[in-house]
Amino acid sequence: MNQSLDKNNSSRSSHIGSDGPGILWLFILIGVLGAAMIFSAGLGYIEISPKEIVQIIAAQLGRHLPDSIDASYPFVIMEVRLPRIFTAVLVGGGLAVAGCIFQSLLQNPLADPYTLGISSGAAFGASIAILLLIVGITLPAPLVIPSFAFAGALLTLLAVFSLAAPSTRLSSNSLILSGIIVSAILSAGISLIKFLADEQVNAIIFWLMGSFIGKDWSDVLLLAVLVMPSTVILMLFAREMDIMTFGDRTSESLGIDTGRVRRFVLIIASLSTSGCVAVSGIIGFVGLIVPHFVRMILGPSNRLLIPCSFLCGCLLLLGADTVTRVMLPTEIPIGVLTALIGGPLFCYIFRKTQLQRWR
C-alpha cells in the first residue's frame, strides 16, 4: 500500500501550476458526466434511446422533431427526467465542493458540508414549514419548504459564526465545536416538531431523508444560481486554501488574512450547501467521501481538487439517483442510499488513515 501511495505522489504533477495530467482528468470527467446524464435520461419506465434524447433536446433548440419519436417523449424527458437529473447533478457537485472547502479550511480531513450544522438548520426550517402546512396555515410562496430550509440554514450559520467569533481568527476548533452545539440544540427542536406533528410526522421524516422526486426547473434554477457561481468563486481561492492547511502562522507569514478568507470562503460554501439542502433534503456522505477519493488520486492541491470533486460529486449522485429511480423495485430515499453506501466506505477510509498514522 505504501508503494502504491508513493507511486500516486510521483505520478501527480510535481509543480504547482503544471497541471497537464489534471486538465486531462477534467476533460475526461466532463465527457463522462455528459454521457452519463444522457444515458440516465433514457432509463426508466419508458426507455428512450440516447439518439432520441439528443433529438428531443435539439428540438427544444428549434430543430424539427422527427415523426418517429412518440409525442409523449419530449414531456417525459424535458419536464420529468432532466429536471431531476440536473437537480441530482448540481446537488452532488455542490456538496462535494463544499466538502473540499470545509476539509481544507477547518484543517480537518473528516469535516463535511454539514460540520457547521447547516443541515440541522435547514431541517429545522423545513420541519417548521411542514408543521405549519399540517396545522393548516398556508403560506403564499410557492417554494415554502425550500425557503424555510434555506432561511434555517442561514440563521444557523449566523449563530455558529457569532458563537465562534471571540476567536478572532475563527479557529477551526471553535467553529467545529460551535457547529456541534448548535446542531444538538436544533436536533432537539426537530424532535419537538416531530412530536407536535403527531400522526402526520411522515412528511417531516421523508423530507429529512432527502429526495429528488418531483423536482422541476425552478429547483434547478435555484441550484444553478447558488452552486455554479460559488464553485467558481471558491476555485479562485484554491491557492489560499492550500496554504491555510498548514496553519495560521504559516499562512499569515505568506500574506493571507486567514480570518477574513476563512469567513468569506465558509460563507460562500455554506450558501451553496444551504441551497442543496433546501432543494433536496439532507444527503450525507457525498461531501465527505468525494473529496477524499479525488485527493487520493490527484493529490491535495485545491486547484484541481475543487473542479474534479465537483464533477465526481455530480457523477456520484447522478449514479445513486439513477439506481434508486430505475433499478430498485421501490424508490429508496436518496439520503438513505448514499448513507448506506457511503457509511461503510467512510469506515474503510477512516480505518485506512488510522493505520497510516500509526505506521
Partner: protein, 260 residues
C-alpha cells in the same frame, strides 16, 4: 542596510486572557544583524516572535518595522519583506515537499499566474541548500521531524524577504543540519538580511549570533553583544545551572555545563 532600524518596540505589553506574558519590552533591532532570542521555557520567546511577525497585536505599546507601524502594513505587503518559520505546523494533507516549498513563492506570484522558471529555480536551489532535494516528491506527512523542519525553512527562504524570524527551528535537527542552517542564516545576514532566531542552544547563539536578547519571566533580562551577555553568571541566574566559559584558541567562546 547596516545600521538602519529593523524593529522598534516601545514599552510593549502582551497578555493571554489577562495573564501577563510579556511586560514592558522596549527594544530596537538593527538591519543586517543576526539576533538570538534566549530564555527558559515559558519566558515569552515564541510570543515575542509572534509580536515581531505581526501575528499578535500588543495590548499596549507600539511595534514598528523600518519606521512603519507593523499593524498599519497590509499582510500581503508584509509578506514580501518578512517571513516566519514557526515552531509547529499543521500537516493534514499529503502535499509533497516541492509543492510545499513552492508555496513560499505565493506572495510573489500574482493570482491567475503560474510559477515562472525563476520560481522553480529558486525552489530547486533552496531544496539543494537544505539537503532535501531527494525528498522533493515525498509527502510532507511521511517525513521525520527534522526533515519537515528543513522543508519549512526552505519555504521561508524562497519567500526571499529581508527579515527572517525563526522560532526554535534547530530544535528537531541533527547537529550537522542545525549548524548548516545557522551557517545559511549567517550567510544571509552577511548579504544584509536581518535574522531573529529564538534558540535554546546557548553555544549556537555564541557561535552565530551578533547580538542576543535574553527573556526571563516575560521581561527583557538583558540585551547586547552575544559574547558579552552569555556567560556563567547569566546561566546561573536564568537556568540555575553551573557552567564555565571556555576560550578556544581561535578566540571564540564556548560554555561548558557542569552536570553534577
Amino acid at each position: 542596510m547596516e545600521g538602519r532600524r529593523a524593529w522598534e518596540l516601545d514599552n510593549v505589553d502582551f497578555s493571554y486572557n489577562s495573564a501577563p506574558c510579556l511586560e514592558h519590552i522596549s527594544l530596537s533591532l538593527d538591519s543586517g544583524c543576526f539576533y538570538g532570542l534566549l530564555g527558559p521555557n515559558g519566558s515569552g520567546k515564541s510570543t515575542l516572535i509572534d509580536l515581531l511577525s505581526g501575528y499578535l497585536k500588543p495590548d499596549t505599546g507600539a511595534i514598528r518595522l523600518q519606521g512603519q507601524s507593523l499593524h498599519s502594513l497590509k499582510r500581503s505587503e508584509l509578506a514580501t519583506v518578512l517571513t516566519v518559520v514557526p515552531q509547529r505546523f499543521a500537516f493534514n494533507f499529503d502535499f509533497n515537499v516541492y509543492e510545499t516549498v513552492m508555496m513560499g513563492r505565493y506572495p510573489h506570484i500574482p493570482r491567475f499566474s503560474s510559477p515562472t522558471q525563476d520560481d522553480h529555480l529558486r525552489v530547486s536551489e533552496s531544496l539543494a541548500l537544505l539537503d532535501i532535494d531527494h525528498l522533493a516528491q515525498r509527502s510532507i506527512r511521511k517525513l521525520s521531524g527534522g526533515e519537515t523542519q528543513r522543508v519549512m525553512i526552505a519555504r521561508a527562504l524562497v519567500q526571499d524577504t529581508d527579515f527572517i524570524l525563526l522560532d526554535e527551528v534547530t530544535a528537531n535537527l541533527d547537529i550537522n543540519h542545525a549548524i548548516a542552517i545557522m551557517q545559511t542564516m549567517k550567510a544571509l545576514v552577511d548579504k544584509g538580511k536581518t535574522v531573529v532566531a529564538a534558540l535554546h542552544d546557548l553555544n549556537m547563539a555564541l557561535s552565530f549570533c551578533d547580538q542576543v536578547m535574553v527573556l526571563d519571566g516575560g521581561r527583557l533580562h538583558q540585551h547586547g553583544i552575544a559574547a558579552e551577555v552569555i556567560n556563567d553568571e547569566l546561566v546561573a541566574d536564568i537556568y540555575q545551572v553551573a557552567s564555565e566559559v571556555i576560550r578556544v584558541a581561535d578566540g571564540s567562546v564556548h560554555l561548558s555545563f557542569k552536570y553534577q
